[in-house]
Amino acid sequence: MKRLKYLINVTASIIVMAIAMPVLFPLTGDQFFTSDYRLPYNLGEDYFLYQKYAGSVAGYNTIPVIGDSVIWGHYTSGTDTLTAHLNRRQDIADFSNMGIDGIHPAVMYGLAENYCRALTNKKIIIGINLLWMSSPRHDLTGGKNSEINHRGLLPQFTEIIPAYNPSFEERLSFVIKRNTSFFLWIDHLRLTKFRGKNLYRWCMDNPGENTLQFFNPDTRIYELPEPMDASKFPLQDAQWVKTEKSLQWRYTLKTLKLLKEQGNDILAIITPFNRYMLTEESANQLGLIVNGIRDNLASEGITAVIPEIPPKEEFADSSHPTGKGYRTIAENLLENSEFKKFIKH
C-alpha cells in the first residue's frame, strides 16, 4: 500500500508540476510584446514564447504578419522591419511581426498548426518567400539535407519528406515535445535563462566560471549580418521547382487554408525576390511562378499582393531587403488598393 502511495505521489506531483509550472511562470525572460516586438534571434526556437506571443497578438487589435526571415528582418534591427515601417503610419492598422528566422513553409504549417491556434477571426498577413522554391534542395524535395531549420515542426509521421530522414526516436520526441506544454516551457526556460545550453555543457565550456552565473539571463544581442555588396551580386540560374511539384508551395497553401479555417481573413504578400541576381531565363521562370501562385490563391479565395521589386541596392541578398528596402516595400504596399482594402478598420 505504501508503495502504491509512492506511485500516486510521484505521478500526481509530476502532473501538477507539468501543468502548474508553465502556468505559474509563463514567461521567465524579460520579453515585452511591444508594437515593434519580434522574437529575439536566439529565441527563434522558443515555441513556448511564440505561442504566448500569438496569444497576446490575438488579444490586441493588430494584424499579425507571419513569415520567415524576410518578415522577421534578418539584416535589420527590430525597428527597421516591414512591420515596423508599416507601423510608422499611425493612421492605419497596427502590425505585429510574427516572423521567425529560418522558418520555411513546411515548418510554417507546423508553426500555425501547433502554436497559432489563438489566432482566430483575425486579419492575418502571410509572407511568401519564393526562395524556398528556388532549388529542390530548398524545396526539401532534393536529397537528404541535414541542415533543415526548425525540423521539429516538420510533419513527422504524416508525410515522407525526401530531404528529411530522422530516426523514429527523433520523430517521436518532436511530436511529444510540440504537444506538451511542459516540455516547451522547459525549452523556454533553457533558452531564456540558460543560453540554450544544458547546465552540464555550459559548465564544461566555462570551467573557471562560477556555476551560479549559468542562471544569469542571456544578454546576448543579435549582431546584424553584413549585407552583400549590390555591385557584386553573382548572377544565378536558379533551379526553380514547379509549383505543382513543390512541397513548399503545397505547405504554404495548407498553412493559408488552416488559418482560414480558423475564421481568419488572409492576405498573402509574395515578398520580392532579388531579380538582379537571376539570369534572364531564371527571372522569366520566376515571373511565371508568381503569376501561377497569384491565380492559384485567387481560386482559393485568397488575395495575393505582389509588391514592386525595390532597387538593387535595397537587397541584402537573394531574398532579404535591407532596412531601406523594407521602407520601399511598405510604401509600395500602402499604395496598393488590395492591401489598403484588406487592412481597412
Partner: protein, 457 residues
Amino acid sequence: MLFQTWTFLLFFTILYFLFRSIKNSTGRQYLILAASFIFYGWFNPLYPLFLLWIIAADYIFLLLMEKTGKRRLFLILSITNSLIFLSSFKYAGFITSNINELLVITGNPYRLPQPDILLPIGISFFIFISMGYVIDFYFGKVDREKNFGRHALFVSFFPQLSAGPIARASGLLPQLQHWDRGKGSDLAEGAYIFIRGLFKKIALADFFALYADKIFGNPAQFGSADLVLGALAFTWQIYFDFSGYTDMARGIARCFGIELMENFRLPYMAASTGDFWGRWHISLSSWFRDYLYIPLGGNRKGKLTESRNTMITMLLSGLWHGAAWNFVLWGFIHGALHVMGKLIGRFRIIKITPVFIRRIVVFILIVFTWIFFRAESGADAFSYIAGIFNSGYAAPSMPLLMFIIMTLCYLYGWFKEYGLLNFMEKPAVKSIASIIMLAWILIFASSDASDFIYFQF
C-alpha cells in the same frame, strides 16, 4: 532501443497495458517473448537471428543431455558452440590482428584479411546467461525447461538482454514459470528503481563522461591534476553508466513482477579487491566464480593453485569485457592485486589497519585500474599514469559543479555503507527523491540519449 528514449517509453507503455490485460500466464509469456525480439531487433533487424541461434542450439543440447544421458558430450558441444559463436563475432578481429602482428615480427609477408563483422549488442550477456543455464543443468542444479517459448524467454528477456544482469536459471526460470500479472506495488517499486537508474545515467554518468572523454581523448595535453580528475571522472562515469543501466533493467523487470538479481553494492566502498568483485558487476563475477574459478579448483588446492585460478579467472574476465590487450591487462592487474591482497592480508599490519583506510586505499587502486580499461591501449594507459606523476601542476579544468557532485557521490557511498541513509527507503523520501531526480533530468541534464558503455561488451 535505449531505455532512456521516448521510443522505449512508448514500447513499455503499450507492452505493460497488453501484459496486464492478458489473463493467461502462457499468453503473457509469449507476449514478452515477442516484445523481447522486437526490442532486440530494433537495434538491428539481424540481431534476433543471432539470439535465436543460441536459444535453439542450447535448447536442443539440453534436450539431448536429458534424453540420451550423454550429458558431458552435449555440455562440451554446447559450450563449444557458444564460445565459437562469441569468438567469431567478438574476437575474430582481435585474433586476426594479433596473428598479423606476429607475421610482421617473424618477417612473413602474408597477412590475414581483417574481418569486418557485426558485433551484436549484448552478445556476451545472453551467451553467458544461456551457458550458465546449461552448466547448471549439467550439475543438476536446475531442471530443464521443456517449454521452448519459456526457455527462449529466459535467455532473451528484454530488460537484461543488452547489458545484463546475467540471470541465473535458478533465479529467473521459476519466476517465469509462475508468472502472475504483477501488482501495483511492483509497478511502484519498479518505477522508483527505474527513475534512480535514469538519474544515474543521464544526470551523473553522462556529465562525468564529458570530462573523462575530454581528458582521455588527449591526455598529453593536460597536467597531473586534470589527469587524476579525469581518471576519477571515468571511475564515476562507468559506475553510474552501468549501475544506472542495471537499475533501469531491474526496474522494468520489476514492473512486470520479475525480480532480477542485484548487480552492484557500493563497489567503491570495498575494503579489498576481493570485496570489490563481490560488489561490482556481481552477476558476472559470481558467474566466473561459479563456472570457472570453482571448477578450476578454487582455493581448495593450496595457495599456488588458488593464485593461478584467480589469475586465469581475472584474465578471462578482462577479455570478456573487450577484445583488446588493455582489457586483458586490466584483468591481469586485478588478478595480481587480488593475489597480492591475499598474500599481504595475512600480515598483522594489514589486519590492524582500520577498515576505512583500507576502503580508501582500495578505491585509489581501483581508480588506477580503470585507466587501463578506458585507455585505447596498454601503452596509452601507462603513458597516462606516467603523466600523472611527471606532468607539472596546472589548474584543473574540471568544472566546480562536477567536482562537488563527485565528492557528494563519494560521501553518499560512505553514509550509505554505514547505514546513515536508511531513512531514504521510506516511501515519502522515495517520492520526493524521485520528483527531484526527474526535475533535475528534465531541466538541467542533456536531452540527447547516449549509449551505455557496457553495450559494447
